[in-house]
């Protein structure tokens, strides 16, 4: 498992810690939110520029951007946004080796739509600064 997959899994686990956010509808799967769910969070890896430094075979430093799509049915999603951001702040290093900062450069995007339901999707973007070992994608330890 790469360090990137470790990070995504750690974020999903963090959001599912009791009490779970979005009634436990937290996933990294790419499928539409079903009508039975009033809230849902989709965790996705966005992109990750890396820096190999000047030493061949040395560690690689990464700025991995993640995005959390926060879906809400029947409201503007502001409460879920606040709860999610607060949860992300509770575990600065995600409990993972090689992670220096797990909530760098946060950015929020808001979107709403009126259909049969009032819908909102607020997206939190942030960067995880971390290191992988010896020219690999395996977490630094």
């Amino acid at each position: 498992m790469t360090a990137f997959a470790d990070i995504k899994a750690a974020i999903v686990a963090l959001l599912l810690q009791a009490p779970p956010l979005a009634s436990g509808n937290v996933t990294d799967r790419r499928r539409a939110v079903q009508r039975t769910a009033d809230e849902a969070i989709v965790v996705r890896l966005n992109r990750s520029p890396g820096d190999r430094g000047s030493i061949g075979g040395g560690p690689v430093d990464w700025d991995t951007q993640l995005a959390l799509d926060l879906y809400t049915r029947g409201g503007d999603g502001d409460a879920l946004l606040a709860a999610t951001f607060a949860r992300l702040r509770t575990l600065p290093e995600l409990g993972l080796a090689g992670v220096e900062d797990s909530l760098a450069d946060p950015e929020i995007e808001w979107d709403t739509e009126e259909a049969g339901d009032d819908l909102a999707c607020n997206t939190i973007y942030f960067r995880v600064r971390h290191r992988t070992a010896g020219d690999t994608l395996t977490a630094w330890s």
Binding site: D69, G74, D117, L119
Partner: protein, 95 residues
């Protein structure tokens, strides 16, 4: 005569339903299919309720008024489209 033909479209119990629009009785066709709203990256399933009725039955001020459809619920009119041929489509949202 033409309006009578249009009204006949809603006579059938399968296609027509009695409803209440802004407190007045109307008859038309109610549909509420599932659609996917393209929010975020994966989208979210929702509904797209509409009510078709004769334009002659539509009150002058209909935007935002309530439509009650027995067995389906109470909705708020959020868009009005006159087809120019005697029918109007009300697009509905949560009341």
């Amino acid at each position: 005569m033409y309006e009578a033909d249009l009204r006949a479209m809603f006579d059938d119990a399968d296609s027509g339903v009695d409803a209440t629009l802004a407190g007045s009785p109307v008859r038309g066709s109610f549909n509420n299919p599932t659609q996917r709203a393209s929010l975020g990256t994966v989208g979210i399933n929702t509904t797209d309720p509409t009510f078709w009725l004769c334009t002659a039955d539509v009150p002058a001020e209909v935007d935002g008024v309530e439509l009650v459809v027995p067995g389906a619920g109470t909705f708020r009119v959020r868009d009005v489209a006159d087809d120019g041929m005697g029918l109007t489509i009300l697009t509905l949202g949560k009341a």
